[in-house]
Symmetry: none
Subunit: 229 residues, 2 copies
DNA sequence: ATATTTTGTCATAATTCTGTAACGCAGCTG
DNA sequence: CAGCTGCGTTACAGAATTATGACAAAATAT
C-alpha cells in the first residue's frame, strides 16, 4: 500500500529536497508552503504522516500541530517536526504540542527515512504485513481472504478494501471523505452517504461471527475499527 | 521444477562464483551488473528470487529493492541482499527497504543455498519440488502429468502451465495480468479475458474429479487455487 | 498433405456489485 | 419537548465483472 506524506515548509528548497528523497524511497508526497494551504490539502487528501516545519509564515508549526491533534479528524495522523535549532526547549514544546517525533535541520535523507519508518511502524503497525490479525479476525492480503479461527467470511471487492484499510489502521477514526479518498480513490465523485451503505454491508457480513461490533460509529466524525471489544 | 534466480552484482567474480554454485544446486541463473541492466532483465523474465548487492554503481541496491517492492509487477519477488559489512544498521535498512533476508560477504555456498531455500519456502513452498501435491491433486513437473489418486487428468500445454503455477503458489490471488506475465511471458500482448477462457478449460478438465472447486474466482482481483476445500 | 489439438477472441448470457434515494429512528440543542 | 442533524436500513435499477460456447487460425501429429 502506498504511503502518503504531507510536507509543510515555506522554503521551496527544503520541500523539493525532501520530496525527491522520499519519492525515491517509495513514498507519495504532497506539499504545502504554509499552514493555511496545509489545511486545505488535508481537506482533500488524508496523508499517513505529516512533516511540519517549526516556523511557518502564518500559523506556526507548533500551533498547527496542536490544532490538528485537537481535531478528531486529524488527531491520529502522526507528525514529525522539522526544526532548525536543536534546543531542548523546542523539543519539549514540540512534543507537547502533539508531535510524534522531531528532527533538526539539516538532516540526512537516511535519518529522515529512518524516523519516518519508525513513526509509521508505531502508527500503522499492520501496513506491510501479509496477514493482518486484529483481535482474532485475520485478513490475508495476498490471498484476499478474511477468516476467523473457524469460519471464512465472504466480502465483495469494496467491503474487502474497506475492511483491509480499517484493519491496517486500527483504532483510528476516519471521516467518510477520508475513506472515499483512500479506498475509492481521490478523484471520484461519490455521495458521502454511500460509505454508510458499505459499512452496513461490511457489518452484515461480519455479523454471523459477531465481529460486526468492531466497526464502530463515531458520531460527527466517521468510523473506526476498534481492536478491543 | 526450474527455479530462476537473478543475481545483481557489479563484481564479475562474485557473479560467476554465485552462478557456478547455484547452477550446481539446480537453479537457473540470470545475471546483471547494475540496477539498470537488472531492470532490463526483469522486463524480459520474472525470476523467482533476486540476489541483490548492497552497493551498485548506478542505483544503490537498497533503492532498487525499495523500487521493486513498490512496483506491483515485482513486489512479490523475494529479495536477498548481499552486503559486505555486517552492521546491524544496514540490516535494518535493508529489511526496511523490503528485502526478505540478507547475507554478508563472504558467504559459503552452503549458506547461500540454505538462505535461498528458506526464502523460497516461504514465498513459493512448492516451487522446487518434482511433484507438487495439493490436497490430493498431484502434478508431476518433470513428467508433465496430473493425477488424483485414481485418475489421470489430461491438460493442454497452457492449462498445464496454469495449474502448475497456481499449485506452486497456493492460496494466493493472481490478477490476470500477473498470470499473463508469469505464464505466457512478460512481453506478449494477449487479451486479459483470454485468461478466463483458460481457467474455464482448466476447470472443465478438473470437473470429472471434482477438483474444479479449487480454482476460485476472486471478483475484482483475479483467481486463486485454494489448498483446502 | 490431412487430421487433430490447441489457442486466442468474440459475442452473449449469467452473476454480482454499486451508488442513490427514501424513510425512520436516535441523539443533541435550546 | 420540538426541531434539527446524523446514522441505520432497505430496495432497486443500472453498471461491472465473469462464465460460457462457438469459431477460425495456428500449431502438431499422423
Amino acid at each position: 500500500m502506498s504511503v502518503n506524506i504531507l510536507i509543510v515548509d515555506d522554503e521551496s528548497d527544503v520541500r523539493e529536497m525532501v520530496a525527491f528523497t522520499l519519492k525515491r524511497q517509495g513514498f507519495r508526497i504532497l506539499a504545502a508552503e504554509d499552514s493555511k494551504s496545509a489545511l486545505e490539502k488535508l481537506g482533500e487528501i488524508l496523508p499517513d504522516l505529516i512533516l511540519l516545519d517549526w516556523m511557518l509564515p502564518d500559523i506556526s508549526g507548533v500551533d498547527l500541530a496542536r490544532r490538528l491533534k485537537g481535531d478528531e479528524r486529524y488527531e491520529d495522523i502522526p507528525i514529525i517536526m522539522l526544526t532548525a535549532r536543536s534546543e531542548e526547549d523546542d523539543k519539549i514544546r514540540g512534543l507537547d504540542a502533539g508531535a510524534d517525533d522531531y528532527i533538526t535541520k539539516p538532516f540526512s535523507p537516511r535519518e529522515l527515512g529512518a524516523r519516518i519508518n519508525a513513526v509509521l511502524r508505531r502508527s500503522a503497525p499492520n501496513l506491510g504485513k501479509d496477514i493482518i490479525n486484529v483481535n482474532g479476525l485475520a485478513l490475508d492480503q495476498k490471498g484476499h481472504r478474511v477468516r476467523t479461527h473457524d469460519a471464512e467470511i465472504n466480502l465483495g471487492p469494496t467491503e474487502f478494501k474497506l475492511l483491509q484499510f480499517l484493519m491496517a489502521h486500527p483504532d483510528r477514526v476516519f471521516s467518510r471523505t477520508q475513506l472515499l479518498d483512500r479506498i475509492w480513490g481521490s478523484n471520484v465523485y461519490i455521495e458521502e452517504r454511500t460509505v454508510d451503505v458499505h459499512i452496513r454491508r461490511l457489518r452484515k457480513a461480519l455479523e454471523p461471527v459477531e465481529y460486526d461490533r468492531m466497526i464502530q460509529t463515531v458520531r460527527g466524525a466517521g468510523y473506526r475499527l476498534s481492536a478491543e471489544e
